[in-house]
């Protein structure tokens, strides 16, 4: 479930990055790196688990699925927070700098 949620997040962020110049300017590439990197790594985990448990891998218990979904959403939230921090630190459009300077001049 965590893998599934992360792959969906990776695909959505790729489409956003590809289709919007503004999104590329806003450093959405950071999200791409995080989501695709984690998806590839969890894919390895999933393959290993499948080799160990066989078809049972595709029939997880309800509680496990819920916990994995909760983890997947938390991973997305964490990645978004990291992206926002990168965005504010790099300030590609200069919006943060302008805001701070305009407050200072008042």
């Amino acid at each position: 479930m965590t893998l599934l949620i992360t792959v969906i997040a990776a695909v959505i962020s790729t489409v956003v990055w590809y289709s919007s110049e503004k999104a590329r300017e806003l450093k959405t590439g950071v999200l791409l790196y995080m989501f695709w990197g984690a998806s590839l790594m969890w894919l390895v985990d999933a393959v290993v688990e499948y080799l160990e448990s066989g078809a049972e891998y595709f029939q997880p218990a309800g509680a496990d699925m819920l916990n994995d979904a909760f983890l997947g959403l938390s991973v997305i939230a964490l990645a978004l927070v990291i992206w926002v921090i990168v965005l504010l630190v790099k300030d590609p459009t200069g919006a943060l700098k302008r805001t701070i300077l305009s407050r200072k001049s008042r």
């Binding site: 790196y33 995080m34 990197g37 984690a38 998806s39 790594m41 390895v44 290993v48 983890l71 990291i82």
Partner: protein, 130 residues
């Protein structure tokens, strides 16, 4: 258990290599004549995937209680049997993760080189007809 440690270690190595290559490429291109993506920029893609992926995996390990904020940081390090299992997982899953990310990155580099090569060809053709 600690499989993310292997791609994180690779990320440290590739980050150092990227910094060195970026410095070298900057010195070679002081006049700013080369506009194509350099190898240092391509290494940034690998660094991004390795750091990003291992960061999110580290969070997953904290979630499952396998990583703690106090020494020895990995709960499996408290018990010799668990440590052996952890090292086995690092050698198998961890290495496979690092290899898969690197292979995908190599694919991206090949595609990007082909796009650059076809762009160079069309530039030459346009120059010849002009």
């Amino acid at each position: 258990m600690a499989c993310f440690v292997v791609p994180a270690t690779e990320a440290i190595v590739t980050t150092v290599i990227q910094k060195v290559v970026a410095k070298k490429e900057k010195n070679e291109n002081k006049d700013g004549s080369q506009m194509k993506i350099g190898f240092a920029d391509k290494l940034k893609w690998l660094n991004g995937m390795l750091w990003g992926g291992s960061g999110l995996l580290a969070f997953e390990h904290v979630w499952h209680g396998e990583v703690t904020p106090f020494f020895p940081f990995l709960t499996a390090a408290n018990d010799p049997a668990d440590t052996a299992e952890m090292l086995h997982e690092m050698a198998t899953s961890g290495s496979a993760m690092a290899v898969l990310v690197t292979v995908v990155w190599a694919g991206l580099v090949i595609v990007s080189n082909k796009i650059t090569a076809s762009d160079n060809k069309s530039d030459k053709k346009a120059g010849a007809t002009a």
